[in-house]
């Protein structure tokens, strides 16, 4: 049959021009602007537009920035690993064990918490993990511990737990979609050819679900590295991340160019890591559209 999409590329361009113009003006241009800005300097309220590497030198030489950056990457990597690992069985359950007409309901159930006020959700984790919090009072009530645990709030761990919660649906959905695409007769074929259920899972299901897993990893990793609210509310001094420093530079220290440089560096590192990750997973993604 003739490809009907081919006709009317002019109308297509006309239709897309609105959203495209918006994305260019409000996204591409500002991103370019921040790149330019990162080469300028600011002295109190005066911006000096002479291009200089000074901000980047400072960002790479001052240990505090390096520490924040490394910690952000560590937190993001842990959050990604935990979120995706925890999410996979749930996605698998919904895709393989739930009756088809109930799947939409389950997916809806899983996504609801994601749509409810982020700030309040994060704040409630503070309540759950706090010294007199839900978790500690429950554990003491059950006689598991005598003293409230302190290693779960205002630190690295608290940030990881809270972010893993916040990004759960982001991980479940792409994996679910990938699992849904697997032709069920492939698994029957594997069993028919002598695989056990377990080996069929590892030899058929998992490889075919990999694009979803890779997508889930990226969609969790990239936004978490720039999270501001969680480290601020539950992170304490040891759990702060790069976004908090960017905010501080912009709104508190009046050093927007340095903040811009930190933002550019963060984005650069994330992009490189994402590309490397994709390259490593090329094998799984090849031949899948």
């Amino acid at each position: 049959m003739a490809d009907r999409q081919r006709s009317g590329s002019g109308r297509g361009m006309l239709l897309i021009s609105g959203p495209l113009l918006y994305a260019v003006v409000m996204l591409a241009a500002p991103m370019a602007a921040i790149l330019v800005f990162s080469f300028w300097t600011q002295d109190f309220l005066n911006i000096d537009t002479t291009p200089t590497w000074a901000n980047y030198r400072e960002a790479f030489s001052d240990p505090i920035y390096r520490e924040l950056m490394v910690r952000s990457l560590k937190i993001s990597a842990m959050v990604t690993a935990i979120t995706v690992l925890l999410a996979f069985p749930v996605a698998y359950f919904i895709s393989f064990r739930v009756r088809p007409e109930r799947k939409a309901l389950w997916i809806f159930l899983v996504t609801i918490p994601f749509w409810t006020s982020y700030l309040i959700r994060v704040f409630l984790w503070k309540v759950i993990l706090g010294y007199n919090g839900v978790l500690n009072s429950a554990l003491i009530g059950l006689g598991v511990i005598d003293e409230p645990l302190t290693l779960i709030l205002y630190n690295f761990n608290a940030v990881v737990i809270t972010l893993a919660h916040a990004f759960a649906p982001f991980a479940i959905l792409p994996i679910f979609v990938a699992l849904e695409r697997i032709d069920r007769s492939l698994l029957e074929a594997a069993l028919d050819l002598g695989e056990t259920r377990l080996s069929a899972f590892f030899r058929v299901t998992l490889p075919l679900a990999m694009p979803g897993v890779v997508g889930a990893c990226l969609i969790v990793f990239i936004p978490t590295i720039g999270d501001y609210v969680t480290p601020r509310l539950v992170g304490g001094p040891g759990g702060l991340m790069i976004a908090n420093m960017i905010q501080t530079q912009f709104l508190k220290l009046n050093n927007a160019p340095l903040g811009a440089a930190l933002a550019v560096i963060a984005m650069g590192i994330v992009t490189i890591l994402a590309l490397v990750f994709l390259a490593l997973n090329r094998r799984f993604l090849r031949g899948r559209s």
Binding site: D3, Q5, R6, G8, S9, G10, G12, M13, L15, I16, L20, Y22, A23, V24, M26, L27, A29, P30, M31, A33, I34, V90, R97, P100, I107, F108, L109, T111, I112, P113, W115, T116, S117, Y118, L119, I120, R121, F123, V127, I128, N132, V134, S137, A138, H165, A168, L173, E180, R197, L218, I222, I225, G226, D227, A243, Q247, F250, A256, A260, A266
Partner: protein, 268 residues
């Protein structure tokens, strides 16, 4: 059985997901000023107190205004993009769509600071308007993601049939396209509204003196004695969010049924 193990695991996971939301009303009706266990007595006082706070009312009004405009604009942009993606082929299509969808994965702080830099440089004062500009940017990809299935599953030959039977282009859009994608449009409006109402970072950077509801909430976190009121407010917000989402989901399902499509998808 392996099936039973998975079921138990999934149930525990749902407990983990819903834990914070379940706690919210518990503390909202608890008469102790400290947000911790053990609980005190039952009260509805925190809800009553909400009615008395002027700043809160202003913030709610600002947020609703921003969210309504954001929902309308981003859904309109989403309709254009989803329609173009589903129906036409044009040069640079995947690149263009990639750019438009990019805010979906971009850390919001990056969007916030880059817009801040631009707005300050061109001298646009921070206000509800600048928040709307930022919110439209992040809501449009969600609108596209929701509208895409509606437009993708809209069979081209339905439109051709309408034209063949004598309708004009506008008549076809009004009588065929619009009714068939309407549930998706409603769903998109509701979701964009919800996202805008909840969004904090961009509003935090760009709202200037027009504090939105999340920005107001953020300010309240610093005052421990205000927290029970925040819990009450949060309960109401969660309730409203869930309500909007259920409506959006019902609209989406009705659309899928109407188009005769198999219904397995969620929002993304």
């Amino acid at each position: 059985m392996k099936g039973a193990g998975l079921r138990v695991y999934t149930a525990l996971y749902l407990v983990f997901l819903y834990l914070p939301i379940v706690l919210l009303p518990i503390f909202a009706f608890n008469d102790s000023t400290v947000i911790a266990f053990p609980l005190g007595g039952f009260t509805t006082g925190w809800f009553a107190e909400l009615a008395a706070v002027e700043a809160l009312h202003a913030a709610v009004l600002t947020s609703v205004k921003i969210a309504v405009i954001t929902a309308l604009v981003s859904t309109l942009l989403g309709i254009c993009a989803a329609r173009a993606a589903a129906r036409y082929r044009f040069p640079g299509k995947s690149g263009i769509l990639g750019l438009i969808m990019l805010p979906l994965v971009l850390p919001e702080i990056i969007v916030a600071v880059s817009l801040l830099v631009v707005f300050l440089q061109i001298g646009l004062p921070l206000s509800a308007l600048t928040v709307i500009l930022g919110h439209v940017l992040i809501c449009t990809p969600f609108a596209i993601a929701i509208l895409n299935p509606a437009f993708q599953s809209l069979d081209v030959s339905l439109e051709e049939a309408a034209v063949d039977l004598g309708e004009t282009a506008w008549g076809t859009f009004r009588l065929i396209v619009l009714p068939l994608v309407m549930p998706g449009v409603i769903s998109s409006l509701l979701i964009a509204f919800t996202i805008s109402m909840d969004e904090f970072i961009i509003a935090f950077f760009l709202s200037g003196s027009d504090a939105t509801l999340p920005v107001y909430l953020w300010g309240q976190f610093r005052f421990p004695q205000r927290l029970p009121v925040v819990m009450a407010l949060g309960s109401i917000l969660v309730l409203l969010s869930v309500l909007l989402l259920v409506l959006a989901e019902l609209a989406r399902r009705r659309g899928a049924r109407r188009r005769g499509a198999l219904d397995t998808g969620g929002f993304l």
